[in-house]
Assembly symmetry: C2
Homo-oligomer: 310 residues x 2
């Protein structure tokens, strides 16, 4: 039997994914038609981007799973018409890209590279930098992305702490969990990396109180989700020198509006949502693997827990 797989995303995504998905299906020996349109009740799987026009899943009565193209599902979990199993994208290429972004910016702040990169006149003032073993880096979120970053930073010698909703265990990482754990994880933190999913519980998790718990002059790196941070509290903490720098890749509104105070603030580095791209080749393989798992009655990789919200 041939499976019908509906691709529901903006049209520009089709040109990026068509060849990669076709190749991945063929590689996996999946007997599947990849289509842009179909009678809803004939569709077996939906490959889905949350900004697609498809918002009402009611008529997709035969659909066995919805496979999200994005890692974040905060715009999908609230959709009550979507009752099928829903999988987040867990793309090895995206994980690799995220680990590289986080490693690059942690190393940059650890060694204060900006001091040299921004130099505009001769200055020869050697200062012995701290070693990674004397630097505390804390990661909020220990899922596929945060866990991989924690492991890499620990392998580079940093004192790594990790915080997540449920208690996790990672070699070389001091782990803390929701509730009072956050107030235990933050004190002494010199570099804070935000990779926790956005849920009702984590919106504004980095507020004035959380910022005040960090080591004085701490750095924030946010490649996770914009609303994890209370922007006004962050700006105040920068003014107070409680926070020395923020490197932000995600924002409440994207693109970040040109008049936003984060632009041109020398204490803020804005990157335009480049920390984690879904990589078509590896993401397509992941989708093919999930269709196979579903057909074999195996659990989906990245299956979303609707109650937890991710």
């Amino acid at each position: 039997m041939t499976l019908t797989v509906l691709f529901a995303a903006k049209s520009e995504s089709w040109s990026v994914y068509e060849a990669a998905l076709t190749a991945a299906f063929s590689e996996a020996e999946l007997n599947a038609d990849l289509v842009l349109e179909a009678e809803p009740d004939t569709v077996d799987y939906i490959i889905y981007a949350p900004d697609s026009e498809l918002q009402d899943f009611t008529l997709y009565t035969s659909c066995k799973a919805v496979l999200n193209l994005w890692a974040g599902v905060e715009n999908v979990v609230g959709n009550e018409s979507l009752t099928q199993p829903l999988a987040r994208m867990v793309d090895p290429g995206m994980t690799a890209g995220m680990v590289e972004y986080v490693t690059a910016h942690v190393m940059r702040h650890h060694l204060d590279l900006d001091r040299y990169i921004k130099l505009t006149e001769p200055l020869w003032e050697p200062k012995m930098p701290k070693l990674a073993e004397d630097r505390v880096v804390t990661i909020l979120g220990l899922g596929a992305l945060g866990g991989a970053c924690a492991t890499t930073l620990a392998s580079l010698g940093f004192q790594v702490r990790g915080w997540s909703r449920s208690q996790k265990s990672i070699d070389g990482v001091a782990t803390f969990s929701a509730g009072p754990g956050l107030a235990e994880a933050l004190p002494g933190t010199e570099i804070l990396v935000l990779l926790t999913p956005l849920t009702d519980d984590t919106e504004n998790i980095i507020d004035a109180n959380a910022l005040s718990l960090l080591a004085e002059g701490a750095v924030i790196i946010n490649p996770g989700r914009g609303p994890l941070i209370d922007d006004d509290a962050l700006l105040n903490a920068l003014d107070d020198c409680q926070i020395s720098h923020a490197t932000l890749d995600v924002f409440r509104e994207e693109p970040l509006p040109p008049n936003h105070p984060f632009w041109n603030d020398p204490r803020v580095t804005v990157t335009p949502h480049v920390a984690s791209f879904t990589r078509p080749k590896t993401a397509s393989r992941q989708i093919a693997a999930n269709i196979q798992r579903s057909e074999n009655g195996e659990p989906l990789i990245g299956l979303v827990d609707r109650e937890a919200g991710y």
Copy 2:
């Protein structure tokens, strides 16, 4: 019997090392007097900085080894009055610092962080960066420092090549050796890291020809020794866009003179010889360990091969 250990370095070093060496000797249960002056023929070991006033070793007839405080020995190996075994500093703290410097700058250039760090007006133009697995990084020199950097960069996913005088073997690293090996290692190299010792054979090893072999737009990182690079050839290669950026920590003259063209060139980042500091605590332990090894008739760590020059 109490050993006499002469500390021969500039006086400012004494304040840095006195406590650390005393602690390391005590930790190692070494029965030794650490002194700033002694009758030459009573001295058992000399802890030595090449910029010390001590240049004539002839009278130190009982000296069993000279223990260099620096990793580089190019200013010592030519001293014909120094006939005792000579050890380079191989300091785990210095190695860690070097790995951190190299990792930070490789990641910085890999992801072109400067583009965001130097931004002076709003610019939202996301570009999907290459993954490390698609980036070729070549390291010249696979000693304690270069080898550790190669291993770390390979663990981060880069395609790492290494070149050294004698053929080495490192997991995950494609290795090449002196002679025609350099012309094999350089083509396709996008980031080149210089960590080879300075010898007659390696002075100006990065000349116009070597630069022309690299991938177009390659980046040079030099935390090794200034004279490894032909400065004029580098400036020409920057003008031709064959090299897109050079991050230099060491120079033929240090401090780098204020009128040197490297200053203020936006394609050159100058760091003031900060890539590798000897760390008093770990270096002192290394010296104590070497005195013990010598007393036990074991080979010194970092023993210099006078013919090779390092």
